[in-house]
Symmetry: C2
Subunit: 428 residues, 2 copies
């Protein structure tokens, strides 16, 4: 049995590793276009801002490691130019043809806005090379003004990284919302928070060419686009989201051809509809399932709740499920409450925490949450993500036996207070 | 309609407040034996160690506040000497008789080991007065050696508070386990951790009289005992745990007589059996339900997962559900794994985190967890508590869409790594 994996980052390497564990005898080949594998893309802003001193800390695994320790034949610098499924083979740009029994497509995503490489002050944050060039530029040129294109996770983290270098920053986004979430209240709160750090958020404005912008440094961190061309040319279907359509076993419309990671779509656990949300953690999970099934197992990936978190200048913003506006757009009879509380017992040097919960009046079901604060935000959004996966009602959320001690929570956890308020709202 | 509540701390005040909200016209009387209400007992160790500068910060509400803002007639210094249910009345020590339509018993718990009040160096940590006396003693007498009786939450927090005053501490417990959890591995890890701080943990040793101990200061923080005498004398049944038996509506065997908080038992969500676990957060939840039902609503309290967390010298130890030994004792075919991971992405100044997960081989069901670390421990135990409430399988836990960004979690959250390992273990 030979498994070929196209793409050597999160999903591809997760797939290869899982297949290896389930089938010690399979031949597993990973074809990576770039000259290295497995870069920790999510860590790049923290290298730029100096939290991570050396770029080498971001290199988690090498191709050698995979060859030696896992018996996985990782070939960097190997661009696949075609999938010929009728022959069960892929063709490389070099002309070489490699046959497969199972194929995992993990071609990832790329910035939607191409960056003109001739402008020396325009950067992307997609690879460790990008981050190294940018940090060097910041340290040697000491730019005073900066523009970040994109108000998604990477855009806001990039803005924070520029602030750490003393740059006055504007964030410009084509979308009317920050973080790609239809939530006017959250967008307004992010704007107000950023203003304290002299970061301006300009929404609903399109940038056609980053090189035209008037700033000492520009980071293009706009939207991503799934790399589906290779798959599409082989007759593999994409879904409404534009990413590759897969079953819950991560199989495409071609038999024994799987897709996983940023090139593939999945299902939203709350709406039941397809969603494309390119995040490293989801890519790893999809990759594991694709790899297991490519190796003959029968595992399923149930989908995602749309959970994510970002640190903006020391402030954490986390979301999961649907915002109130999104819930209404999906046909729910949505009600929402926003409560202000503290992250610990008031007398324990507590800090503010805000929780917005969204529920459905008809079913009493929990639909989503937005949580902001400085500490213990991730854990609280994860409780909601868990409750969403279990299709919990607001009433059940209100009854949860959450851990309490003064250094960790008020006696009524902010989540429980929000659930109490929302249940009142739902029954009114 | 007149509601009488016996006890003016967590459960009693939650009951009274909820009843008031649901029935603006009811007459609500709270009878509290002590001369103040609503003290934040959980905060006392943090007053002793100096984190909370002033004891007044621990006084959350006054009797006046309840009278004025909530129209609740709180009477401090009012000791109930008998419940005469055939007359629907309680009798006070003063001889006064007060009739009721509904009654909520929230008499709380007391230290199982009585403290001899003539030993000036022996303390309990049950009321703000206790804490003030102890802190003053520590500041003025500067004791060098200390003994804490009890290795439960309060005992370990008290040990930390003594350490903050430079006292060399021994913790002596009659139980063979720390934190009242049958888990030898956890007990060993707590012992090893405490040794770094020169705190000795001595288990399986009974102290009959704290005054006999050779130490400059002694804190009696042994087990609690539910205050059930008043209820028992009125014919109210207690359960196997020794606490008052209640239905899921918090009703006792007497009609319209409810019990809530540290004097009452509840149901363990994993075993389905009665459990008595006197914790403030549970007391508040039980009180709310008792108050709602006493005011004519029909609400239920599903039970608890046994979740708790304690900070030991800056290290958090959190548990929920069953330990492996407890699961076996309850007839589960328990399997457990313990994994070492990090609380954040490795390159983000991460700190170690240990997760033990327990599951049932037969059903694949999640049964419990123990999590230790320095940060973001509460959130992770709460995810498990939520999964327990939803009766989730290990496989579902493994698929959770938890928030990921480098400052908050490794790309594979420690919980997901543990779930992957446990699933392997369950299927082996």
């Amino acid at each position: 049995m030979r498994l070929v994996v196209i793409g050597g980052v999160a999903a591809g390497l997760s797939a290869a590793s899982r297949a290896r564990r389930l089938d010690p005898h399979a031949e597993i080949i990973v074809l990576e276009r770039g000259d290295s594998i497995s870069h920790a893309a999510c860590g790049l802003p923290y290298y730029v801002d100096g939290t991570v001193p050396s770029a080498s800390q971001l290199v988690t695994y090498t191709a050698d490691y995979f060859r030696r320790e896992r018996g996985i034949d990782v070939r960097t610098g190997s661009t696949v130019s075609a999938i010929e499924h009728h022959r069960r083979a892929v063709t490389l740009a070099s002309g070489e043809r490699i046959g497969y029994d199972s194929l995992v497509i993990a071609t990832g995503a790329r910035p939607a806005l191409p960056v003109d490489s001739v402008s020396p002050n325009v950067f992307t944050l997609h690879t460790p090379d990008d981050a190294q060039r940018l940090r060097e530029f910041l340290q040697t040129r000491r730019p005073r003004t900066g523009i970040v294109i994109g108000a998604g996770y990477i855009g806001l983290e990039a803005a924070g990284a520029l602030r750490a270098h003393g740059v006055r920053v504007k964030v410009i986004s084509e979308s009317a919302h920050a973080l790609g979430r239809e939530d006017s209240l959250l967008t307004r709160r992010i704007r107000e928070y950023l203003e304290q750090f002299h970061v301006d958020l300009i929404l609903g404005e399109r940038v056609n060419n980053p090189s035209d912008l008037q700033a000492d440094v520009v980071i293009s961190a706009g939207g991503l686009r799934p790399n589906t061309e290779l798959a599409a040319a082989a007759g593999i279907e994409t879904g409404r989201t534009g990413a590759i359509r897969v079953t819950e076993r991560m199989e495409t419309n071609l038999s024994r051809v799987y897709a996983a990671g940023d090139c593939a779509e999945t299902v939203h656990l709350v709406t039941g509809r397809p969603i494309w949300l390119p995040l490293g953690t989801t890519a790893n999970k999809m990759g594991r399932i694709a790899g297991a099934n490519a190796a003959g197992a029968r595992e399923r990936f149930p989908g995602i709740a749309g959970t994510s978190i970002v640190s903006i200048c020391g402030w954490a913003v986390a979301v999961t499920g649907l915002s109130a506006a999104e819930a209404k757009a999906h046909g729910f009879d949505a009600a929402a409450v926003t409560i202000q509380s503290r992250d610990r017992a008031a007398y324990m040097r507590s800090r503010p925490m805000t929780v917005e919960l969204v529920g459905d009046r008809r079913s009493g079901r929990l639909l989503g949450a937005t949580i902001t604060g400085e500490r213990e935000v991730a854990g609280r959004i994860n409780v909601v993500a868990t409750a969403l996966a279990a299709r919990m009602t607001i009433e059940s959320l209100e009854q949860l036996d959450l851990a309490y001690a003064p250094p960790f929570s008020p006696v009524w956890d902010p989540l429980l207070i929000a659930a109490q308020q929302l249940r009142k709202e739902l029954s009114s």
